[in-house]
């Protein structure tokens, strides 16, 4: 491995890896994945602390050739999952039209419906919106990845074409949710906007170490997770009787599904081209745990904001520890990890680890459920300090 430890940073501890909602029913899983909540507090307070290890360029340089050679394949197999702009939905399609006569009526109706939607749901929706709005961080993450980065900002490479178009599609998600929340009248927009500013300012080290192997496995996982999350908020909105909101969440979820398909295909191809390298990356990725992009969110008052938001998402069944394990299991199956052959002994160990992981996590999760205690209610500045149960 070609490790270039950034000379400016160093630290024995790892950047927090948080994937599972930590509290209430996930005591054990929480402690495994995140005694990180302690780490988070420390890293947030000292964001330019010299004590963090950030690993860079972990992929051996000769492997960049693999990605160059995949250009045509990407054009024919991945870009097809993008939608032509003319055929794309836009946020305006799902919101009252200010240029129309009935605009104020529509807004009133929207606000009436929103009144029937509970605070805990709004906490989760806001968390999703803030995460989507931190898009600059995600485009950055992709563009610092070896082998697939956009070298000029308008590179004609298939990889770069994908990344820009993906970013453009994702951009609509934050816009749509932002406008909806703004119109809803149920939230404190300034606090939310502040949180977004903090989050983009904080960035995120997803620990993909500039490796496209790690990066594409990570994004596959993420897209599936966001599909689940937005799908859940759509389902809940329907339950609360807000069909328009359900449509909003649903249309976003459908984008995520297309993206998931694209990234999953890329990793499938990597398993074909370089099974050993890819399985080792999968192991590394899972050992580090899948960190959620909104990890460093902060609203100026809650030091454990992400933890609290995640706990509510867990309790509402929007994205849970069970989902995490389901997603892992899905990919192990989808990429046929059990059937890989021609692996080195390290590769076989990685294969064993990855194939056995879901079962271990399920056991932890069951245990955590047994031990689940009733969680406290806490205020969220996003909803004007109204309280919600974690």
């Amino acid at each position: 491995m070609n490790l270039n430890l950034n000379p400016l940073t160093f630290q024995p501890g790892k950047f927090p890896s948080l994937s599972l909602p930590p509290r209430s029913s996930n005591v054990s899983i929480a402690s495994t994945i995140t005694s990180a909540s302690e780490e988070i507090k420390n890293t947030k307070k000292t964001s330019s602390s010299p004590r963090k290890v950030q690993v860079t360029h972990s992929m051996p340089p000769h492997k960049i050739e693999i990605f160059k050679s995949m250009e045509n394949w990407v054009e024919e197999n991945v870009l097809i999952h993008l939608k032509p702009v003319e055929k794309c939905w836009q946020p305006q399609d799902f919101l009252p039209d200010p240029a129309s006569d009935g605009f104020h009526e529509r807004v009133k109706e929207l606000q009436e419906r929103a009144k029937g939607t509970p605070d805990d749901y709004f906490v989760v929706l806001v968390g999703h919106m803030i995460t989507e709005e931190a898009l600059p961080t995600y485009q950055t993450q992709i563009n610092i990845t070896d082998g697939i980065r956009d070298e000029t900002g308008a590179s004609p490479s298939s990889w770069a074409t994908w990344t820009r178009a993906w970013t453009a599609e994702e951009n609509r998600h934050g816009d749509l949710l932002n406008k909806y929340l703004y119109l809803s009248g149920r939230v404190d927009m300034k606090q939310i906007e502040k949180t977004i500013q903090y989050l983009i300012g904080a960035g995120m080290d997803a620990q993909n170490d500039n490796s496209p192997y790690l990066g594409c496995i990570y994004t596959s996982f993420q897209e599936r997770a966001t599909f689940i999350s937005h799908g859940s908020t759509a389902r809940l909105a329907n339950q609360h009787g807000d069909k328009s909101l359900a449509q909003i969440c649903g249309i976003i979820a459908s984008d995520e599904k297309r993206h998931e398909t694209a990234y999953t295909k890329i990793v499938e191809k990597l398993f074909e081209i370089d099974p050993n390298g890819t399985v080792l990356a999968f192991e590394d990725r899972m050992r580090k745990k899948i960190t959620m992009p909104g990890l460093l969110m902060y609203d100026g008052c809650d030091e454990n904001l992400f933890e609290h938001f995640s706990a509510v998402a867990q309790r509402l069944g929007v994205y849970t520890a069970k989902d995490y394990v389901d997603v892992l299991e899905f990919f192990v199956e989808r990429w046929n990890v059990e059937k890989l052959t021609g692996l080195s002994s390290e590769g076989r160990k990685a294969q064993d680890y990855v194939c056995g992981l879901a079962q271990r996590l399920r056991k932890l999760e069951e245990r955590a459920q047994e031990k689940a205690k009733q969680a406290p209610t806490i205020p969220f500045s996003w909803i004007l300090d109204r309280e919600v149960r974690l």
């Binding site: 005591v27 054990s28 402690s31 495994t32 005694s35 271990r360 056991k363 932890l364 031990k371």
Partner: protein, 139 residues
Amino acid sequence: MAAVSATSVTFGSSLKLLKSSQITGKASSLKMVTVGWTKSGFPSLRTSRFRVSCSAKPETVQKVCEIVKKQLALPAESELTPESKFAALGADSLDTVEIVMSLEEEFGISVEEESSQNITTVQEAADLIEKLVQKNSEA
């Protein structure tokens, strides 16, 4: 609390004493000290890194070692000492949680999340187990 520093000095020497008793397996002196400590309700014991090292029975330490070896798939002959750190033996955070879970099952105890985060060595695990087992029997 001027007494604290004085007591710590005493601790130091008692600790040494007890450590040697541990080696010779003089269970009785071990017991005495355990009882003494809980009676005094010495507050710092709860949170401090103060090794209640002397209170864990050798059998407990042995059992912990077995469980750790199994979890980390270490060869049976591998030498584990009470001071062995899980991380140094190759345990990641998932392994540690699973070790704690196995210990809960083995000893019929329930470990709080906050406590489990403080378990980094065989000795710390054994100590916590003894403490919880005792609490169970007192309950």
